[in-house]
Homo-oligomer: 379 residues x 2
Amino acid sequence: MTIVQRCHLVYPSAGRAVSVMMRKACDVSSATIYEVAARAGVSIKSVSRVLNSEPNVSAALKEKVDAAVAELGYRRNLSARSLAGASSSVIAALVDAALTIEHSRSGRGSDYLSRLQLGALLEVHAVDYHLMIEMVDHASARLRGELTALLSSIRPAGVILTPPNSDHQVVLDVLDEAGVPYARISPSRDPERGISVSMDERQAAADMTRHLIDLGHRRIGFITGPIAYGVSQRRLEGFLDAMHAAGLDAPAHAVATGDFTFDSGAAGLEKLLDARDATTAVFASNDDMALGALKAATARGRRVPDDLSIAGFDDTVSAVFSTPQLTTIRQPVGEMAAAATHRLVPALIRQLPEGEDPQRIVVPHALTIRQSTGPVAFE
Amino acid sequence: MTIVQRCHLVYPSAGRAVSVMMRKACDVSSATIYEVAARAGVSIKSVSRVLNSEPNVSAALKEKVDAAVAELGYRRNLSARSLAGASSSVIAALVDAALTIEHSRSGRGSDYLSRLQLGALLEVHAVDYHLMIEMVDHASARLRGELTALLSSIRPAGVILTPPNSDHQVVLDVLDEAGVPYARISPSRDPERGISVSMDERQAAADMTRHLIDLGHRRIGFITGPIAYGVSQRRLEGFLDAMHAAGLDAPAHAVATGDFTFDSGAAGLEKLLDARDATTAVFASNDDMALGALKAATARGRRVPDDLSIAGFDDTVSAVFSTPQLTTIRQPVGEMAAAATHRLVPALIRQLPEGEDPQRIVVPHALTIRQSTGPVAFE
DNA sequence: TTGAAAGCGCTAACAT
DNA sequence: ATGTTAGCGCTTTCAA
């Protein structure tokens, strides 16, 4: 049973009576800054100074305050801080409502969002910040008002934007107007707005293409995503970069257009092989299409990777569970979220490596070689 | 460009001058309760009454206030509310630090956590609450102090506990002492503490067993999880329930003990078939073990489901990507989180169905029949 | 039924 | 280098 007793202590100068519930041993309590000040025999402003690492604090004072804080197990109240100050120690991650609902209804979690959150959570936790997850509904006519209200209600220290929010004009506008720092994960336009955290899609596609070339492949097909998407463009460019750099030909019929779906991957493979049956490798610009291509290839009697190599992009969960397991590009989602958090939390910004553009972060990707790619068959 | 102008308005009775930054059209702003009161020509207390649906409010007053709120796009400031009131409109989900770090390092998100969060997020969003994700580190010696500080810093309206936090004594103790309502997802002990949200593990296992029996199977093997785990016990009991109900024999050699890992599933299958080669179906108490069993069965020359049916439990992502796809029990994680949120948010509690114990919620599970189970072969 | 005034626990100007 | 005081935007007694 918990023993509760009341202690009344009077803050000397303010003459402010503070009544406090003290729990057993007084070691776990929700002390206030007044109690810390009283215990240390200083003013609340001094406590605040120490807590915020402000300049002009004597070592002796700091020591007294630190001791009192430790003895009381004191932690600043989040609400009071954000109410009084300019912003809170909360990082808000804005996720898309439509995607959330879709994921929830299908009963499948989002691997992407999960990795992202875990990455941010670890960083935030280390500096005593907090992670809030919020949904924004693009379909809402009142999006602008809702977002403004959200920001003024939460007053986050920073906001992490995930696709498709990263490129949403209204969201960016409201954030700019509110003066809230924000980091955009994998933005595909307006690169100058906010902090952008991305991977080098073009280089990654080139790396994968190079991997296929190194395996001896010369006739390589490519399946793009929707042309309208920036990422589709960049992945295609990377493919062409590597082909040209190797002095290889990438004719028009070596490129099929898909829409990032399984079925479009299957169709793309049909088209590529119909156009050039001697194709020995196909690089699809996402995993779903690669898996579709894998299925179509098998149906066509091609063994993967013996008769045909197939590569994907994204490293989704399904890439590991396919047969054969898919060679793909791993998006460093967790690292991106961690990097974003780093630019949003003042205490962490100082620790950044020198000479890096603090606004445009490029996180290294990883070529993940599994079993769907192999050396070209001896001809 | 944003046009900023200052408006000074004086709250009549308080004589309190409020200076406000008004943005273009004054339709998206961070209005305060004073502005709403001024606009409606009432006191702030009246606004507060309307906002909180307190009794003793005339229809005329409510109408005026509602209009002012709508015109100003007013939303209450979260920090101010939680500072002044007893608690905030924040639901905190406490996840395990070790699991988080493990997931983050492996580069794989947590499907479980993701589904859970999405389920909670949708509910919370609907009532203008907010979801905060926090990590708790069981390994920390200062766990108790850290948790207390966390609670007093955030002052959440409620806390959602995921395994293994659901059963952590210190966590439950601190929550009780702080008087914060909490919901435990899938607790396996102390069922009387807090709100518990779970599925009927025993019934689910019985359902799956019944499914196998209905397919004509008579000699069914079972692979348990670690005996120490409560869920292992309950799933085994469910298996035995169904066997006995059907008048079938479940001898000791029809039960193998695993530890929830892939390898232990493979080993379990070997043991079961060694003991009784005529076994026609094996039910593993989680998907990982079922997949291990699947592999071992195939290696042994048994075709699944033609020569042997295999069933799992949990419906993890891998269950969908195996060949054949796994018949399993789907844990309604999203629904559990939604139910938990419902009992934690005062505004939602009233909407509960009649006659249901509000403290012990059992969420319906789903038997998910895929391709790894089939009719027993004609003998 | 409605309003006035006192905080909640901080931060931030403004003293000293 | 340290202290005083006035809010931040609400909720909550207590009055009227």
